[in-house]
């Protein structure tokens, strides 16, 4: 048995034994209970804010949904508190789906302030409706009981709460380490990049929101049966702000950071309330002054939160099982068959015509180069082909499917993978974790299977595939390094490995050789030739003429958004129009 297998057991024993430690004042047990409840909410914020990048002030409202659901059901219908738990979680999840449908499409600060607004209005709703007992709230909530044992004592309840914290932490860690969780983590590298590998980004955001809301409702349920009465105050905006603050102070991107933040904020708050009146001797809100000042100073000292200072946070090495069954592979179209046909493609940005009546075709199994001076419309063309941007007119046919109007994930599903001109990797993930995002569409496991750890066989397959692609591009030794610690040229190669994980029919590479050294370019060219031998079709934008002339079977030259010339590298090289576009006319 290793430490990793033993720690949940050790933690469980701690949950059961700690409150009975001889000489431990009951004040600290109570404090521990509050820390536990806050921790669960803050763990939800790790997924939502720290990992998913969605700031929410409204978590206290979801706490309220959980607490009021169980309060109303147990007091009015006499249901057992254990039976109201699923109801409390479900009510909160449904509320999160509804609120999320409205607010989650907003970005950045709009969203943050949007959550602020609905949090205020929910607070006043709780405080003004008879159903919620208005400002007085609901009292007489029964305690939890086990086999007739009523869990009224704070020490007993400590164990209940901290087993809950343990479950929340485990579920969240499992989620983040699963296919669905990877989709949430990928949001940080750019929604566009994630979508280009089939990640349904709105769904990933909703998942993070619902997960955080369900955890908050769980905390609310625990809170209701600890306090045995509820009123609107702990579910207002100030509480919501405090939970966010806990997560950020602790280190919003890490689960232990959430526990640390909840603990520190609760303890410091209590100590200040206790100590300051003794020190200063007068009444006043001195604790909020000192607390606010400490908060600002802490952030100035460590904007990433405290946890990264305590533990050196780095991606954990991922053990790959090479014996995992290979994933099903796509059947490539026969060499020479028509693959892609672009006709009359148009895209304008305001008055600028980026792509103008562009026509070209690709046949299966060829390497085609898309070249042209800067600003010719090459990257825009890539964006139009991959659903990142929509054309103003024209048609794109790929293996009998029209691509116009399809969004990025649907196009990825058809077997078109791409790399980006400006590298888009998730900075907080290791190389192999970034690469495995490319295989997103080749797995099926949903969030529930991830949380319950029923996805391990499939995950092993996905990681084995990612490892295989890393070997292929020559970066196997770097698999566990943080993605952004690599040189820029190598990061581009990581993007190629990620694209290969999709098992693509057509590979679109945007300046893959930029930033590579001479022998790395030679290796890249050899890799692309090997891929062509396996039936993959490649379209690449490249400015390194030696590289592209030696590699491509055919070139398409663009200038001012239209096709200037097309043909083998030899004919294109001699084309007077091409020479003029690149070098200017003699006269």
């Amino acid at each position: 048995m290793t430490w990793r297998a033993l720690w949940p057991l050790a933690a469980l024993l701690l949950c059961l034994g700690l409150p009975w430690l001889p000489g431990l004042p009951s004040f600290w047990v109570t404090l521990g209970n509050y820390i536990g409840i806050s921790s669960i909410v803050a763990i939800g914020l790790v997924v939502l804010t720290g990992v998913g990048g969605i700031t929410s002030f409204g978590q206290a409202s979801f706490l309220g949904f959980g607490a009021y659901t169980t309060a109303i059901l147990t007091v009015q219908t006499g249901m057992s508190p254990w039976l109201t738990l699923p109801a409390a979680l479900a009510v909160s999840a449904v509320a999160a789906l509804l609120i999320g449908a409205i607010t989650l499409r907003l970005s950045g600060h709009y969203l943050a302030v949007g959550t602020l607004a609905w949090s205020v209005s929910l607070y006043y709703t709780f405080a003004n409706l008879d159903l919620f007992g208005r400002n007085d709230g609901i009292s007489g909530i029964p305690p939890l009981s086990l086999e007739g044992l009523r869990l009224i004592d704070g020490r007993m309840y400590f164990s209940v709460i901290w087993i809950g914290v343990l479950l929340a932490a485990l579920a969240t860690a499992n989620l983040l380490d699963s296919r669905a969780g990877r989709a949430i983590r990928a949001l940080r590298g750019g929604a566009q990049a994630a979508a280009s590998f089939g990640v349904n980004t709105p769904r990933a955001r909703t998942l993070a929101f619902v997960h955080a809301a369900v955890l908050a409702a769980f905390a609310g349920w625990l809170y209701a049966h600890m306090q045995r009465s509820v009123n609107p105050t702990p579910f207002g905006l100030n509480a919501g702000i405090e939970y966010l603050l806990m997560a950020v102070v602790g280190g919003a991107a890490h689960i232990p950071g959430a526990l640390l933040g909840a603990g520190l904020v609760t303890v410091v708050n209590n100590l200040l309330q206790d100590l300051l009146p003794k020190l200063i001797g007068t009444q006043g809100n001195f604790e909020t002054i000192v607390f606010g000042a400490i908060l600002v100073l802490t952030l100035q000292a460590s904007p990433e939160g405290i946890w990264p200072h305590i533990a050196r946070v780095r991606p954990r090495p991922h053990r790959v099982r090479p014996d995992a069954a290979p994933l099903a592979a796509r059947v490539m179209p026969p060499r020479g068959a028509p693959l892609l046909s672009v006709r009359g493609l148009n895209r304008t940005f305001g008055g600028l015509v980026a792509v103008n009546d562009l026509c070209f075709t690709l046949t299966a199994g060829e390497i085609a180069g898309l070249i042209g001076p800067n600003g010719a419309g090459k990257t825009t063309t890539f964006n139009l082909l991959t659903g990142v941007d929509q054309p103003g007119g024209g048609s794109v046919e790929f293996l009998g499917h029209s691509l116009v109007g399809l969004r990025a994930p649907a196009i990825a599903r058809l077997g078109i993978a791409r790399s980006f001109q400006h590298v888009r990797l998730v900075p907080s993930m290791s190389v192999i974790e970034n690469v495995v995002i490319g295989a997103h569409l080749r797995g099926r496991a949903g969030p529930l299977r991830g949380v319950l750890r029923l996805d391990r066989a499939e995950e092993a397959q996905l990681y084995a595939e990612a490892a295989r692609q890393l070997v292929r591009v020559g970066l196997a030794a770097q698999a566990d390094r943080p993605a952004t610690s690599l040189a820029l040229g190598q990061q581009r190669v990581v993007e190629i490995a990620r694209a290969l994980c999709l098992d693509p029919v057509l590979l679109l590479l945007d300046e893959p050789a930029a930033g590579l050294r001479h022998n790395e370019k030679a290796e890249l060219a050899a890799l692309l030739r090997r891929l062509r031998g396996e039936g993959v079709t490649i379209l690449l934008v490249e400015h390194d003429m030696d590289f592209v002339m030696n590699l491509a079977d055919r070139l398409v030259v663009m200038d001012f958004g239209t096709m200037l010339a097309e043909g083998t590298p030899e004919t294109v090289r001699r084309d007077p129009a091409v020479i003029e576009a690149y070098l200017g006319s003699v006269a």
């Binding site: 804010t49 990048g53 700031t55 409205i102 607010t103 499409r105 907003l106 970005s107 950045g108 600060h109 709009y110 943050a112 302030v113 949007g114 602020l116 607004a117 609905w118 205020v120 209005s121 006043y124 709703t125 003004n128 949001l187 940080r188 590298g189 750019g190 929604a191 566009q192 980004t201 709105p202 955001r205 702000i241 966010l244 603050l245 950020v248 102070v249 919003a252 006043g284 809100n285 001195f286 604790e287 909020t288 002054i289 000192v290 607390f291 606010g292 000042a293 400490i294 908060l295 600002v296 952030l299 100035q300 904007p303």
Partner: protein
Amino acid sequence: MDPTIIAILVQDGVVNGAIYALLALSLVLVFAVTRVIFIPQGEFVAYGALTYAALDAGQMPGSVWLLCGLGAAACAASLRAEWRRLSPRRLARLLAGTLALPAAVLLATRELAPLQPGVLVQALLALLIVTPMAPYLYRVAFRPLAQASVLVLLIAAVGVHLAMGGLGLVFFGPEGSRATGFSEDSLELGPLIVPGQSLWIVGLTVALMLGLYGFFEFTLYGKALRATAVNRLGARLVGIGTAQSGEIAFSLAGVIGALSGILIVPLTTVYYDTGFIIGLKGFTAAIIGGMASYPGAALAALGVGVLESFSSFWASAFKEVIVFTAIIPVLLWRSLRGGVVEDEE
């Protein structure tokens, strides 16, 4: 509901809306220039109101001492950040701005406060006491975090809000205050009696907005601020100090907040923590207006004010619910129209 009531409600709404509009403008300004969501805006409203009320009652406002303390803290923070490249001239300017200015304000207040020199002098003095706190706060709390994410800046703003709220209680006490208005006269428009104070509020709001427009459109500092808002790095490359832009933005926010407080304290009792909810409504307006457009935010603020006065007439318990829920259809419309989700940062 007869036309007179409607007219009264609209008038109420416009007056409140004018205040929200001012706050919305300064929130948009601070956010655009510094990326700080300025939660402590509400405290400036309360400080302005209560400082003015204290002066109006012939008392020495406690906030003067806070001004001196914050000035000293700002001086220390600036020395720490800049001591390597501090020329004698810059040092003199720093000391004058952070130590001499509060000292002068302190002396002036001590002389003038017992004399009760009249509403205009009192208002000016209150502005002088409260406004410099904003750039001091910027130096102490936000400038060291200039490179941090919007989320971290936001949490720092929460910290400042908490501290300022606590300090407000210390210096002004838990009791609410009211003060003499700028004008006791009123204007009769048919059945409607418009109090002079309301006219002052609307008039000053419009004047301030025109002034801001002129500032942004025609002065070099205004243009520098706009440049910083559009592209921080680009502004730095052409020699605009982003720290200086931040200070100007905060100063404007401080002036606007304090003035809003001075304007409302004759109409309603203000407590040390009244500002927060007023500030939140300014936020709502700023968000409805798009957090980027000044005229949009101002119009939205008028809408919020009118909606608030009508909902307090019809369903006063649900006033806040209605006002804050009003944001949701607007957000929905915006997201359906724009609908592009991009990453933070």
